[in-house]
């Protein structure tokens, strides 16, 4: 079993929650940019949350199914169609052998996740499936997918098989079946274009000038075209330290807003380097990173201050929501 990649799309890679434990060796974590959509895609496909899934960026691939499959698509709406019919997101989809999945114009967001029941039969590298493009490791042969690739799948999980039977009984002559239910969107991050992101003050916040400390909360910043999985470069007002300061390099992380001397902030994303020496002005809270991951270059973002305690409360609430979601999906799967 497997997926045949007819067209690769702009940037389609296999990702998981990231490669942890090796940052001290300079090995970046990689992993899904929108970890929420990635995790829910796996849940819907009846997988554990650690299985690899495809991260699809703006212009999606064309994928041919050579066997019956149970899949789920989450995240951005990139006009996915199965055999020419629009396919709904955030729900299990039973796909018949011979079907073709295509993508069209991006409607909202920029990263979609495709999970397949049972995951992909690819080797883990350093404990992770995530593609680390620069080092050429992980994922499918350490690179983005290309036309002609065949990504092997081991076949559906036990939950997948149960759902498979349920769904395939309902195809009624169609090529595919979409589950009639979807998880309650009240649990979802508030995906929106031009979002306001919650952030806490970074370790070097107080080193910035009074004007910059004020402007970072009041101004809007445009996500420039020089934005990728490593980081988003922001356009807008320039931010400056009150006096030039040389910092000793130390760790940086996903969501760190660092400001080089020319004043244009960079938000570090999933493929960020492990360490850096620029002042860290803000830190976007973890629960808002999925929202940021879906921001398309050209859109604007702004920052709203929250305390560390609030950020961690939000984190805990999201984990509670995700376990409720997992439970609800499991009930639906086994009904």
């Amino acid at each position: 079993m497997g997926l045949e990649i007819v067209k690769p799309g702009l940037l389609t890679t296999l990702q998981d929650r990231g490669r942890y434990g090796h940052q001290k060796e300079g090995i970046i974590t990689s992993g899904a940019m929108d970890a929420f959509a990635y995790r829910v895609a796996n849940m819907l496909a009846g997988n554990n949350e650690e299985e690899a899934a495809l991260e699809i960026t703006l212009i999606g691939p064309t994928i041919h199914f050579t066997e019956d499959q149970l899949i789920a698509l989450t995240g951005a709406d990139l006009s996915a169609e199965l055999n020419g019919e629009k396919v709904r997101l955030w729900r299990p989809v039973f796909v018949k052998s011979g079907s073709t999945l295509t993508f069209g114009a991006p409607i909202s967001g920029c990263r979609a996740y495709l999970a397949v029941s049972g995951g992909f039969a690819i080797p883990q590298v350093m404990g992770s499936y995530a593609t680390y493009l620069q080092a050429g490791i992980g994922g499918y042969q350490g690179r983005a997918l290309q036309a002609g690739d065949f990504i092997p799948c081991p076949g559906p999980s036990d939950t997948g098989i149960a759902l498979f039977a349920q769904a395939s009984a309902n195809t009624e002559g169609h090529d595919y079946t979409v589950a009639s239910w979807t998880p309650d969107p009240q649990y979802f991050p508030t995906y929106a274009p031009n979002p306001i992101l919650r952030a806490i003050k970074g370790p070097e916040f107080e080193l910035f000038s009074e004007t910059s400390r004020e402007q970072v909360w009041t101004e809007r910043f445009q996500v420039s075209a020089q934005s990728d999985r490593m980081g988003y470069r922001l356009q807008g007002v320039s931010l400056y330290l009150s006096e030039p300061t040389e910092l000793i390099s130390t760790a940086v992380t996903f969501g760190t807003v660092q400001v080089p001397p020319e004043g244009k902030p960079i938000v570090l994303m999933a493929d960020h380097q492990t360490t850096g020496g620029y002042p860290r002005m803000l830190q976007v809270v973890s629960v808002d990173l999925p929202i940021l991951a879906q921001v398309v270059p050209g859109q604007t973002i702004s920052f709203e201050e929250v305390s560390l305690e609030e950020a961690q409360q939000l984190y805990i609430r999201q984990e509670q929501n995700l376990s409720q979601l997992a439970h609800a999906i499991h009930l639906k799967h086994t009904q």
Binding site: Y20, M126, I248, T274, Q283, L314, Y315
Partner: protein, 244 residues
């Protein structure tokens, strides 16, 4: 008031899922000894919710999962982890001098095409190429941090007289194993990347190998020495390093 060495530290949050422990405000061996002692202690005593740690010049950043670390929301994650780290910082002091640093020899071929900028460095430093090599191999270098690229060591200890500015125009691709100088730093490129360092030689060792149990050859806290080798030895060692 007298304070114990390890207790001179500052803890601060790096977002909602990491805490940085900072020892001192400068790059020096004494500070790094504390970094190493704490890092080693943490490796042996991970706490609930611990994800990983990144030792740097004067800090150790500890990543944790607020959900696990708070026992699913029972504790305040930051406070709970901070308390545990503070306790560890107190007891880690005892192991301060426990482990002697590992000394790793890095064979380097400084000849011809392997060191395309050796002549330039010699001219800039007003030394002969032989003197550059002699000075570079004489030093004992401290690995302060691995970062920038997988397995890339930030080294301290290069002789000041070897300092040479970066190239005006970075090269689009520098071969893995290249040994270079940038300003007052020396380093080794573990993977092929673009870069502006002045290249003075190349090592046949693989600084990064994803299939090794420890993918990065060097770890923060190691000490290294460069050993000059011939081109013949280079190829011999290269075959060995690449499993031929």
């Amino acid at each position: 008031m007298k304070q114990k060495d390890m207790q001179l530290f500052r803890l601060y949050p790096l977002g909602d899922s990491a805490i940085t422990v900072q020892f001192g405000d400068s790059i020096d061996k004494a500070t790094h000894t504390k970094v190493r002692a704490f890092s080693a202690y943490l490796d042996r005593h991970p706490f609930t919710g611990f994800v990983e740690q990144v030792p740097a010049f004067n800090s150790v950043t500890v990543y944790y999962d607020p959900w696990q670390a708070s026992e699913q929301g029972f504790y305040n994650p930051y406070t709970h982890v901070t308390e545990q780290l503070q306790y560890m910082l107190k007891v880690a002091r005892e192991n301060d001098k426990a482990a002697a640093p590992r000394i790793v020899e890095i064979p380097v071929c400084y000849n011809g095409s392997f060191g395309p900028d050796l002549e330039y460095v010699a001219r800039h430093t007003k030394l002969s190429p032989q003197e550059v090599i002699a000075s570079h191999t004489r030093g004992k270098y401290q690995v302060y941090m691995i970062g920038f690229a997988p397995g890339f060591p930030y080294l301290g200890g290069m002789a000041k007289k070897l300092a040479t500015p970066r190239k005006q125009n970075p090269r689009p691709a520098i071969p893995a194993g290249s040994v270079g100088i940038a300003g007052n730093q020396t380093g080794i490129y573990p993977i092929e990347t673009p870069g502006g360092w002045q290249l003075i030689g190349r090592t046949p060792l693989r600084l990064f190998d994803p299939n090794r149990e420890q993918p990065s050859l060097l770890q923060a806290g190691d000490q290294i020495r460069f050993v000059a080798i011939s081109e013949k030895e280079y190829w011999k060692l290269k075959d060995k390093a690449h499993g031929a």
